[in-house]
């Protein structure tokens, strides 16, 4: 499947990635190549086959409703790239 520049831009935006012109060119090529390759799956007759939605062999793995295992305020904020004494901080959405 050939990917065009517009599709690349849309997908990049969804993934919050950006590419310069050369990077976009390469990524488009790589993706097209890989998608061409995976398309061989269309050779497989999957008529009547249910998609697999879990690889777990367990069911009803549930937690009792009790409070436990939290991080303290300081511990939680410790790794924050930007913070003040109470909050995580991020740049504002600019319209």
């Amino acid at each position: 499947m050939k990917i065009d520049v517009n599709t690349l831009k849309k997908i990049a935006h969804l993934a919050r990635l950006e590419f310069d012109e050369a990077g976009a060119e390469k990524m488009t090529q790589d993706m097209s190549q890989i998608l061409d390759w995976v398309e061989q799956l269309n050779e497989v007759d999957t008529q009547g086959v249910e998609p697999i939605t879990t690889m777990s062999s367990e069911v009803n793995v549930l937690r009792e409703d009790a409070v436990a295992n939290h991080l303290t305020h300081e511990q939680g904020l410790k790794n924050a790239p930007q913070r003040d004494s109470d909050y995580f901080r991020v740049p504002k959405v600019m319209e």
Partner: protein, 476 residues
Amino acid sequence: MEKFISFDEIKKSLENRETDCSAIVKYYLQNIQTKAHLNAFVEVYEQSALAQAELINEKIASGKAGRLAGMVIGIKDVLCYDAHEANASSKILQGFESQFTGTAVQRLIDEDAIVIGRLNCDEFGMGSSNENSVHGRVLNAADETRVPGGSSGGSAVAVQANLCTVSLGTDTGGSVRQPAAFTGIVGIKPTYSRVSRWGLIAYASSFDTIGVFSKTVKDNALVMEIMAGHDNFDSTASRKPVPKYSELLHFDKRVKIAYIKETIESPALQPEIKANTLAVLEKLKNEGHQVEEVDFPLLKYTLPTYYILTTAEASSNLSRFDGVKYGYRTPNAHNLESMYKLTRSEGFGEEVKRRIMLGTFVLSASYYDAYFTKAQKVRRMIKESTEDLLNKFDYIIMPTTPSTAFKFGEHSNDPVAMYLEDLFTVQASVSGVPALSIPNGKDKLGLPIGLQIITNSFKEAELYAFANYLSAFNSN
């Protein structure tokens, strides 16, 4: 003279008071230093390992030591260890310190294994050569111009070069087995959900497993036995009881073995690997086992199935790396959107970005059914066919890899060529079944060859026993 090839040796030395834990740790620290250029270790916990050693010496003296006392382990840079950095070999997690220890690692520590350091790998587990790491590439000790395999390259080399007794890696599509083959050691991918994923930095959630590298099958079995089993923190972890693998290594049955035509006859298969594999099969026949060739027409579809599903899951798992709560944040952003885009574009390597893009694409609304749903269906078919085969046969044997260790840069420009390295390992990952690689000779350049054994889900005991038996075939 290499000491401590196996844990049995270590235990014996300890019992005979020939050594103690501090000496063992110092021995490995020395090796790590001598072989530093291999770049297996990202960080060495010299102080804490020595401190731990002293504590365990005391425990041994008072008869209170755990089952792994004397064992020194390394853990892959995707395994969380409280108050220690875990970077997933990525710039986006540089400086990040885990605030809890994963279950698998904790269980080994609880039995007095000493964690000597953090091991290099491909970024987020994505790669087959350990060339995609922010910490730089890892060299194969068998030939330093060649890759050790990946993604758990560092973990493999650490055991290969005697930098620790046993190491933990992770195997999502072959990332333990392939490097084990390239470096001539034992490596296992357990049944999916056999070992808790709590503390494993996720790549593809329905494929990820924690695996073990070792020199001997017995050491591997012991570590797996201790790590495996139900965990309250992992909703997918199996509740099935864990047999004592290390005590079940005895093997004297006659078994039924299948080998898949499409693997042996693959045009990508290096002739020496084919020859060595066939030699093992021949010997098994001579020993009275039933060895049969079978068809597995779905084999070629295992790779595309794997890449569609793992990239999809990865694209979602890696969304949390956004510069908000932890990890790298770009210094160049002026608003939220650019903060996200620059952080992630600057923080992730090429291969990771490629897989995120692919995964995002196959999950996107217009393509979901054509790619993702299709792959989920084919996965079911592959899984069920593999399980059927393993119901008729006790084991499947195949080469672990199509080639021996390749040279650095060989696949750098061709992602698909790199993906094809996983040709023989992804079937077990797609199916969820356990698979193990043991050394099976060398090629004419002296590069290790691996033999892969696969069995049905939750039959690690049978797998280890047979692997142990096969190891006696070729004493290298």
